[in-house]
Symmetry: C2
Subunit: 564 residues, 2 copies
């Protein structure tokens, strides 16, 4: 019932404005205001009323305690329908979650209900012009006062949803450096900085946070991206969250959720493109089967061409595989919050190692998938008459949001693989082996189970090879091809998801328990698994070959010596 | 000197309007006119004056007889500077070439000088709404009259440069079916259909060719794409080119050139994106080397990060490799026109087999390359403040123009590989082996020579496997994975180009004959070759594994039986 309400909201309120929001982008008016599409306010309000901002929060914070799997399934539908709009609501959700986790009761009471009502927009304010991805170099300053708050001064860029006309107030969760704090990431603190600060008398006072401009983009054009200036008139107050200098670890609470959410969003947008191209392929007659030489025969539907089937199956394999991994992460999130002790630790570690993978696989392969959607439509796919080109444009941001592919890959190989002496990786391997064991019980799945086992061994060999460099302290060399390792890990992990889906399908078919689905639903899951193994997973070995080569062709110290 | 003039034209007249033409797209005004950017007329005029429309034509047709390699090098610069603008001039060139090759003297005298002067625009009018890529199904009709011309009636869509305000007249080279012609491609004839037809008195009369609308697109927005309607008032005259029913073979003369040109354009646009990201990487300080733990040290330039070097080298390997193959095709074109007899046949066959490969590799991998350019710039790459996102958007059309990737792949595996009992493929293999032999003379190139030899053997094994199906008459099965075969062939052919470049570089370095280039120029060619073999060519084996698998997962006859 809850998911059905999300579907109606997505279909009736969000998708109808998907194209219009692209054609009339959110835009800075030169006078401090960012004008968004007139429907945006209405959509955010409706989403808030139906608990799609606060739904996963605790009862005591005004939420419905929806499991993340349910809440995220709703958001999946929004992301597929209108990913820019989902951004506004998802960001508010995440911001409120950060406050409820680390804020004081007063902070929670002041900000969270307003965010859940959709009147106030939560944002994450991390990036600064000079620092980019290097949070270590942020310089926004926070000067303590004797009345509890901090005076803030600084510039933040690329702030999604950062001050626009569809919300009344903004709650910027901002990283800044308290005067005298240590250099680097160990001196970063987290502040709540509202655009309008609540005064003791209940009124709101302008908090000296200006929108100084915006960024026009190739995609997600309806989703405002702004430049914020804090403290131009020396009157910007920031309210410390938690302890000083621990801001980055708090922010990563939200960031981890945001990374999974970006991965899921990428999978959802690619899914929308896949569905659009599938529908087109089922309706468009063109050409004849290659075995049909008689030009007087009527044209066939393009879905009957083998190459179109290949493009559709590639999209299905990527998007359903990525979405399945996203849901696996949401499930692990729920489990790690529902359970305690060693079991909790297990789910938490699995979530840690899968987070950079779901973010990266979905965004990188999602773009490739959407390119195939365009290709299925032919020239029409390139025109603004069809949505697939917008999906393709929107998707490109996903490999940059919340840490680029390069940064996710360093996180995977540099932190997650090695954390707790490799425990997260060991747990992941055990979990995959468990699926392999289950699959081995079905004769038709055995070859695929064997292939995945072989891929796990290959990954082990690669890590053994790379670890030589780490052991010698050659950390740059160890990490130089982290992105290639990420690509390989992505193929393997999605291969695992497909095998898992195939096992579930084989169980249903064997038990003749297909419920309300036709048998073909489950047969197609097994078919797509086979396709993934035959067409996609084969590239994992190619990545391994690159990683096992011994010559170092990147990481060259003196770039001037090298004629690019 | 000639190329330098192209560089100035590209830099001073074309690139300055690259962004503006994207922001003010060519647009149908609802009253039959397509309004283009005000500078377009001026640019086309300047290009014409400097012989960049007619330069490669024979003296007798008003050209300079420039070799295709020189003429195309000029166009490469235009494509990199402003690919939409180059489209207008390149299309005129190709159209004039078609008329000079197959038209009568009167047709040549009437149309070609005006096209070369840039006052008249040549176009190719093939696609119809109901037929799409399936030219067999076009229905535009041509009714003979007793005064020599044909009365034309029909609709054509996706006509690049098809009637806009920057040219005075249009010469549509149009495929149509003479009344009573055989069904299929054997009944298609080629017509010259001007927008304004020259009358015996020297005046121009409107020829009943209306622009009925345009297509707005995600890229190449300054390049008009129109819908043309012929003969609404029963007064559209078409002038037959060559013999009746042979139109498709004539059109393929132009089409082959256009395919190479699209491939080169894709390489050029990707090259522009690469150069923009390279410049950014050399100027942007951000973060520290992974071995540097002290956050108080100043940030390093991002080009010093291994992953950024990987992204730059990937782009360099793809774009220089693709451009090299484009130039190889231009060279073969020149040779096949300068030489006669068996030698000519050899160059012609090589050109035949390489044409679908240069078109497809450059467009598919070019898009991937431009995605990496965006990635190097981080969030900035997604904004309209930088050109890389426009390159990425523009590039997407290249895998659709002049036959989609699927069609190119059917052409490669279905026609070119098998033509003359495999002679073209045999010649290509011999040519690649010749490069392998040359490379084997340099110890540092030997491992790569050996790898390429192994890849050739692998391709042979794949073809042997696939030919079983062809021999059994299972033509659908033989061609089902043509696109995967194309991907594999692309890696191998570009590997050959890189080995060829490495041999040339090794020769220069061994002879200490580096001319005006620094040694590092040649060293970097060898370095990039190594990179291509280590990071890209490894994926050829993955494609082969897919192709060698025995189960058929696509080409399923009854799509309804399959739950997508």
């Amino acid at each position: 019932m809850i998911i059905e309400s999300a579907r109606l909201l997505a279909e009736q309120e969000m998708f109808p404005f998907f194209k219009a929001m692209d054609e009339t982008p959110a835009k800075y008016d030169g006078k401090g205001r960012v004008i968004t599409h007139p429907q945006l306010k209405n959509i955010i309000q409706k989403a808030a009323e139906q608990h799609w901002i606060g739904g996963s929060a605790l009862f005591e914070h005004g939420g419905l305690q929806l499991p993340e799997m349910i809440f995220s399934t709703g958001h999946h539908l929004f992301q597929a329908a209108n990913n820019g709009v989902e951004g506004y609501t998802g960001l508010s959700s995440g911001s409120a979650g950060l406050i409820t986790n680390f804020g004081t009761k007063e902070q929670i009471d002041t900000y969270v209900p307003k965010i859940f009502e959709g009147h106030w927009q939560g944002t994450m304010a991390l990036t600064e012009p000079q620092a980019g991805s290097s949070l270590s170099d942020i310089i926004t300053s926070a000067t303590p006062t004797d009345t509890g708050y901090y005076k803030i001064k600084g510039q933040k860029i690329f702030i999604s949803g950062g001050q626009h006309e569809a919300c009344e107030n903004f709650v910027h969760l901002t990283l800044a450096r308290i005067d005298g704090a240590p250099a680097g990431v160990k001196g970063i603190s987290l502040f709540i900085i509202p655009k309008f600060r609540p005064e003791p008398d209940g009124n709101l006072a302008f908090n000296d946070v200006y929108c100084a401009g915006d960024f026009q983009k190739m995609g997600q054009r309806g989703y405002a991206t702004t430049h914020l200036s804090f403290g131009d008139n020396d009157d910007c107050r920031g309210f410390l969250v938690g302890e000083p200098h621990k801001g980055l670890s708090y922010m990563f609470h939200m960031m981890n959720g945001a990374r999974i959410s970006v991965g899921q969003s990428a999978a959802s947008v690619a899914m929308a493109a896949y569905q659009a191209s599938l529908q087109y392929a089922k309706e468009r007659p063109q050409g004849r089967r290659l075995s049909e030489k008689d030009p007087s025969k009527p044209p066939t539907l393009i879905i009957n061409h083998a190459d179109v089937q290949r493009m559709l199956l590639t999209q299905k394999a990527i998007t359903e595989g990525a979405l399945s991994l996203g849901m696996e992460c949401n499930r692990l999130f729920d489990l790690s919050h529902a359970i305690s002790g060693e079991e909790r630790e297990k789910y938490f570690l699995l979530l840690e190692i899968l987070t950079p993978i779901v973010k990266t696989y979905s965004s990188e392969q999602g773009s490739r998938s959407a390119a195939l959607a365009i290709q299925v439509l032919g020239g029409y796919g390139f025109t603004t008459d069809f949505p697939v080109q917008q999906h393709y444009r929107d998707l490109k941001i996903m490999s940059l949001y919340e840490g680029t592919t390069g940064i996710q890959s360093l996180d995977l190989l540099g932190r997650k693989v090695t954390m707790q002496n490799g425990k997260a990786l060991q747990l992941l391997t055990e979990t995959i082996v468990d699926t392999i064991t289950k699959a081995s019980a079905y004769p038709e799945l055995q070859p695929y189970a064997a292939t995945l086992k072989q891929e796990l061994k290959r990954m082990e060999a690669v890590l053994k090879h790379l670890s030589q460099f780490a052991q010698k302290g050659e950390i740059e060399r160890y990490l130089a091809d982290a992105t290639v390792f990420m690509e390989m890990a992505g193929y393997i992990v999605i291969g695992w998801q497909w095998l898992k889906m195939a096992v579930a399908a084989a169980q249903k078919l064997a038990a003749k328990d297909t419920g309300s689905n036709p048998e073909s639903f489950y047969q197609s899951k097994i078919h797509t698994m086979e396709f993934f193994f035959q067409y996609e997973l084969t590239h994992a070995a190619a990545c391994a070959e690159t990683l096992l080569k011994t010559s170092a062709l990147t990481g060259i110290s003196d770039h001037e010596a090298f004629a690019w």
